[in-house]
Symmetry: C2
């Protein structure tokens, strides 16, 4: 019987940890749930830890101290490079080229399994910078940004193109899009953030870096520091973006409208 019970406990512990990345569970919580001694739970957790790391499914970290316990981090999971290479290969289809040299990639940004892994990968690059929230601008980057926020167990804030009455008072700023040089507006509800917080900016696409720069400027209005910028895809040109540092999963080198060819590659760090 003891053997079965251990298996049962370990299964339940893994499910709960995996379902709630970066959330600390105390040993007492598990101890109460299973009616087992803390020493027994410690052994259960050690088994879960070994297994998760052995099969590159992430990491179970021990957090010391009074508020301590264990938490699951979807860190350095397997097949990341292969995963990004597969997306690139999907995107290299000439039929995706739209008038104006745009690349149709809505399907890639629509599937939860895909955005989940992309969000996780971007989040893990900035995990140690300890952001308080993820920030994005509507609309297409929201799924990836939400999944990044889920990996880090922090809120997602969405800057809107227009302030909405149901969000209360908002701060609006104007920014210049990197692509077209047009002036646009973005706004964020005042009560969504507090001075001194740390933001991680996540978006789907970067060409000139105007949106990311706009988000960073907006954070300044709230006295919030930006700990990083992560995007799904960045264009190779222009090489100088309006934000200095960013991580992208893929680099879009060229879209050849005449020959219907797309040159897109995984970024080097992936």
């Amino acid at each position: 019987m003891e053997k079965v019970k251990r298996n049962e406990r370990v299964s339940a512990i893994v499910e709960m940890l995996s379902d709630n990345p970066n959330k600390i569970f105390t040993l007492s919580y598990f101890s109460d749930l299973f009616g087992s001694a803390k020493s027994t739970i410690s052994e259960d957790v050690a088994i879960a830890q070994d297994s998760i790391e052995k099969y590159s499914l992430g990491k179970i970290e021990t957090v010391p101290g009074a508020a301590g316990g264990v938490k699951y981090i979807p860190y350095k999971k397997n097949d990341c490079k292969k995963f990004v290479e597969e997306i690139c290969s999907t995107l290299r289809d000439g039929d995706r080229i739209l008038p104006g040299g745009f690349l149709y990639m809505l399907d890639v940004l629509s599937h939860p399994a895909t955005v989940s892994k992309m969000g996780e990968m971007l989040a893990m690059e900035f995990y140690k910078a300890n952001p308080d929230f993820v920030m994005t601008i509507e609309t297409k980057g929201i799924p990836v940004a939400l999944m990044a926020a889920k990996s880090l167990n922090i809120p997602l804030l969405i800057a809107r193109r227009d302030a909405k009455i149901s969000d209360g008072s908002a701060v609006s700023i104007n920014y210049v899009t990197g692509t077209t040089g047009r002036i646009q507006t973005m706004s964020l509800p005042k009560r969504a953030v507090s001075n001194g917080q740390r933001a991680l900016i996540i978006d789907d696409f970067m060409k000139g870096g105007g949106s990311a720069k706009g988000l960073a400027d907006m954070m300044k209005e709230f006295a919030i520091s930006v700990v990083g910028v992560g995007v799904v895809m960045a264009t190779k040109h222009p090489e100088v973006k309006r934000v200095k540092e960013y991580k992208s999963l893929m680099e879009l080198v060229n879209v050849d409208e005449i020959n219907r060819a797309v040159d897109v590659r995984p970024s080097e760090w992936v």
Copy 2:
């Protein structure tokens, strides 16, 4: 040694299943990964199944047939009622009342842990209707809709207020908002869907039901059937909505601007 190995396999199986709800994993896949016989893997899965059900963490289903295997369904997880009651209690704060009688609930719709559970609950109500994709309209409902889509392992499609050039050709329709009676536009890229598919509509808020009706009408343009409508919150008034059937997690009975009181309750089915 065998004992440790079983624990390890069960942990890894639970992590992979839980991380990919509604995705079928074949026994051969696990068998290759662990270098174990299929009969051994069957026993591992049985242990995982028992444990997940025992602690109300969902369900591991066996899918028979050639393309069969096992999959995890976040079905009837524990504490759903308590969870919704807690959100209601958070929302009953008079300071949330905005000018015009609107209720500030962006924080509740911003945290991945919260939207994840809300999306899961709504998705599970329509799991058996077998939708091909989740449909929502930008912006605030996107996080919950994405999490519902994740639980079902199907894409999320987002109707936009304006068609974007980077989405290719789109179908646009006009619809009447239930709240103000104003005419608005929504559009969806043509290549995002196919005739004959089945859509599940998920949104954050329903008053008159105009947005949901607009989404349903748009689905008609694509010859797509709507298998259900789920929202986080619906107002008690008007009692007759523009869509006949829907499931909401919470019912907003009244917002009293004078006395700064919010009457919001979990829906009866929760």
